[in-house]
Amino acid sequence: MRYLPLTQTDRRAMLATIGAGSIDDLFVDVPVEARLAGPVAGLPHQASEMAVERHFSALARKNMAAAHHPFFLGCGAYKHHIPASVDHLIQRGEFLTAYTPYQPEIAQGTLQMLFEFQTQVARLLGCDVANASMYDGSTACWEAISMAGRITKRKKAILSSGLHPHYVSLAKTMAKFTGDTLDAAVPELSDRTDCDRLLASIDGETSCVVVQYPDILGRIEDLSPIAAKCQETGALLVAVVTEPVALGAIRSPGEMGADIVVGEGQSIGVGLQFGGPYVGLFACKEKFVRQMPGRLCGETVDAEGKRGFVLTLSTREQHIRREKATSNICTNAGLCALAFSIHMTLLGERGLRDLAALNHAGAVAAADRLVKIPGVELVNQSFFNEFTLKLPKEARPVIRALAECKVLGGVSLGRLYPGEAALENGLVVAVTEVATREDVEIFATMLEEVLA
């Protein structure tokens, strides 16, 4: 087999060195009744590289790739153009096939990259410090709620109705087990967010308020009033960013007073990949750093006084604190963080501003075009590259019909909020730089046809 270097001669010689008669002698500790006599039954045997590739090619062809069709999906995962050099660099074996940098003398590449990543993320989100990444945005969001609970020693979190429903769903799963109380709500299909509800609900029991920015319907709202109310009551403001490209155009949550800012970093450098792996961003004010979950990279010097980097503050983590750790998380999303960081380095601040402007302009033009379709209304007053339309009929079948016409036309709110009749006509449309004017025109034409 091509991945196994040992020859039969090697195996015999090694068994002799060990003093074992056969390979079975090395499995003597397995209870007799659990020993399998041969390969697990009912499964195919080994296959050549060509055969395996062919198998996958056939499966891949059954999927509609975003690049091949007019494509307008968002809601927590966005298609942006990723420069060729990003994928080239992350495939360098020294990055791809390295482990967590526990031996810093021979892992400075990963460590320096993480230090740069932490700085980029902190600056992007407007915070003092950031960690070396989390699994994804949704798990980062729960970790932020959990961290706010540790800091405030309170157990009630208030979730904005504009928070991604999957993020809410995950938080509800976890809260069932941790005993936290979550005050969540479903959004209205209008430009009105539930800011007033949040302000009215914050009290001395509140550990944190969680607000997505821009929110699930694409709406953009000033977080400062909520930050001020949080400050008054000793609660923390957790901001969630699922489309970090937006921060090239709009203010960062940190500068509006958020205490913890988490995000989904997929949009920068990481492809859609059907939902994973992605990269969770996690940043906060410096005073909370010892309550942060996840790995942290810090600067130091070596024995000769040269600058170097190490994983640090690891006593917060599970391998040392065990049952008292800030989180059970062991791994981060190193390679996705690398992809994020390389893409961000290629962009730089200027490139990010240009990219954001291009996204916003395209979305404005698309919104203007789509509302010309009879019966279609634009829900948002404000948006970045994603907005919500109110269709004259249920959106979910419309999306399926559009897919039959080879158009991937957005995310129906019926899919995200099953059973919520008031939302079922809602369609969330994301327009990034990859959508051409022709794509928008095809989408508008087909949508009009499907609605007719």
Partner: protein, 521 residues
């Protein structure tokens, strides 16, 4: 004759000049690299964009009005920056990476190729399911392999890594207990467990109690039995365990736990050692996570992403998290919140947005299909053979605490017994760096002093193992003889030993302009 007028006269040089100081700090191919914040500029970019068409901003009056301070680099500078950084890393592609418990095996490039096919890499998680049938089929196929190889009933695919999988398993146990109105408060964990086990149990709201080990490095069955009772929700056991040994009493442990009304969680981090030879389902396991990045060769990527699907017994399957992939008639369906009530009303909920680590599923399935059922069995056999070869080739020079009790599984454990006064496991590890190896896992498991845990994996040749054995023998002898040069190793790595105390006492976690104060929030 013609006289050489160029002045070029090759000389063989002087070997004494190794300590020469260079202007750049570089040492030939070992290139120093500054931070992007020191070499980049906020007005530089490596990407060209067309100018956006004229439009009226609809950003709600929240236009960004402050600089971020994120520098950019041109494309050539970017490629060079990251290429230079990469060269300061050790990696499997460079050599043996014997980190015990981490399973650093070769990462086949076919996996990378298939994961990048547009039909998998460029599809949206919320795309209509009719447009992603091939992707759902990949998940379904991988799920079938995982349940069949483990002899279990079902698999929850979405957990994002091993620890996330542990959480999934423990939450399923808690949900199952709650469903029968049985509130239990304690999870038992052996002393030798991975730190994630107690952290996970605590996260799920359980008190954690340790079970002692026998002198042979295994769970003390009698101690376990005597602790079982109506307050014990379950046990979390790693098998093969973190000493690299198979838990001989696994079936008896499972039976005892089940008799007491609890569940058995198995940390499957070491499934690599038994895949194709033992099905955990036959040992009475109720839940086990499988690290696709260990057993099934998906790359570790410098610390993730991982992927940790959890196989479940019949008793726990109804409580598995959303979403699921199901094949109904001819199409693959995605079971999410809206339709879960039909068959999965007892599901404990969602653990992540979307459906898990698709990019890891394609890679793992490519690896699995390449090996097939026969090849995977050979994987376990070669992994175990390689580890025992190391164990028996070095147990004369390093103490193997459990060597006398029989063979190890996929990893060989040694201790620091017999080193010269003042010499430690850490010195051996740093010495191995100079020999061109990534060190073994050190100081884990915690149950022996100065642990060195060596996992060669099945993808190393005998010649590679022989050289490694020779190198470790040499370094171990130096540590026993008290060679002072070992105390200051590594000498030849990109950095000497780093001051971790300084990093922790005065944490510097982000780069700051040396002269400009950073604006406070």
């Amino acid at each position: 004759m013609t006289i050489n007028q160029s002045g070029w006269r090759p000389e063989s040089g002087n070997a004494e000049s190794a300590d020469a100081v260079t202007y750049t700090g570089n040492r030939a191919l070992m290139l120093e690299e500054a931070l992007i914040f020191e070499i980049g500029d906020t007005e530089t970019t490596g990407i060209d964009f067309t100018k956006p068409p004229a439009h009226t901003s609809r950003l709600g009056g929240l236009e960004r009005n402050r600089p971020m301070g994120i520098p950019g680099l041109s494309e050539p500078e970017t490629v060079r920056h990251y290429t230079r950084l990469s060269r300061q890393n050790y990696a499997i592609d460079l050599g043996l990476f014997p980190l015990g418990s981490c399973t650093m095996k070769h990462n086949p490039r076919l996996n990378e190729k298939v994961a990048r096919m547009k039909g998998f890499a460029d599809i949206h998680p919320l795309a209509p399911t009719q447009s992603v049938q091939g992707a759902l089929e990949v998940i379904h196929q991988l799920a079938h392999w995982l349940v069949t190889l483990t002899g279990m009933k079902a698999v929850a695919m979405s957990p994002k890594a091993g620890a996330h999988g542990e959480l999934c398993g423990v939450l399923a146990i808690r949900a199952a207990l709650e469903a029968r109105g049985d509130a239990r408060s304690v999870i038992l964990v052996p002393e030798s467990a991975h730190g994630t086990n107690p952290a996970t149990a605590a996260f799920a709201g359980y008190a954690v109690e340790n079970i002692p080990a026998t002198t042979e490095g295994r769970v003390d069955l009698d101690a376990l039995k005597s602790r079982l009772g109506p307050d014990v929700a379950g046990v979390m056991i790693t098998n093969p365990n973190t000493c690299g040994l198979f838990e001989r009493d696994m079936k008896a442990i499972s039976d005892a736990v089940h008799d007491a009304g609890g569940f058995v969680y198995c940390d499957g981090a070491n499934f690599n050692a038994i895949v194709g030879r033992v099905r955990p389902g036959d040992l009475g396991i109720d839940a086990m996570h499988i690290n696709l990045h260990k057993t099934f060769s998906t790359p570790h990527g410098g610390g993730g992403p991982g992927s940790g699907p959890v196989v479940l017994s019949e008793a726990l399957a109804p409580f598995a998290p959303l979403p699921f992939i199901e094949k109904r008639s001819d199409a693959f369906h995605l079971i999410e919140e809206e339709n879960a009530s039909e068959d999965y009303g007892q599901s404990f909920g969602r653990m992540t947005a979307f459906h898990g680590q698709m990019g890891m599923y394609t890679r793992a399935l490519a690896y699995i299909l390449s090996h097939g059922a026969d090849g995977l069995r050979q994987v376990a056999e070669d992994a175990v053979l390689n580890a025992n070869y190391i164990l028996r080739s070095l147990d004369d020079v390093l103490e193997a605490p459990f060597g006398p009790s029989g063979p190890c599984m996929h990893e060989a454990l040694f201790t620091d017994a017999g080193l010269a006064e003042g010499f430690t496991t850490l010195d051996i590890a740093k010495g191995m760096i100079d020999e061109g190896y990534h060190p073994m896992t050190v100081y884990f498991p915690l149950v022996v002093h100065g642990a060195m845990l060596i996992e060669p994996t099945e993808t190393e040749s005998k010649a590679t193992l022989d050289q490694f054995i020779g190198a470790l023998r040499s370094v171990a002898l130096r540590a026993k003889q008290g060679d002072p040069a070992l105390k200051t190793a590594p000498h030849f790595a990109p950095r000497r030993r780093l001051d971790e105390m300084l990093a922790a006492r005065k944490p510097v976690l982000v780069w700051k302009e040396p002269e400009l104060p950073v604006a406070a929030e």
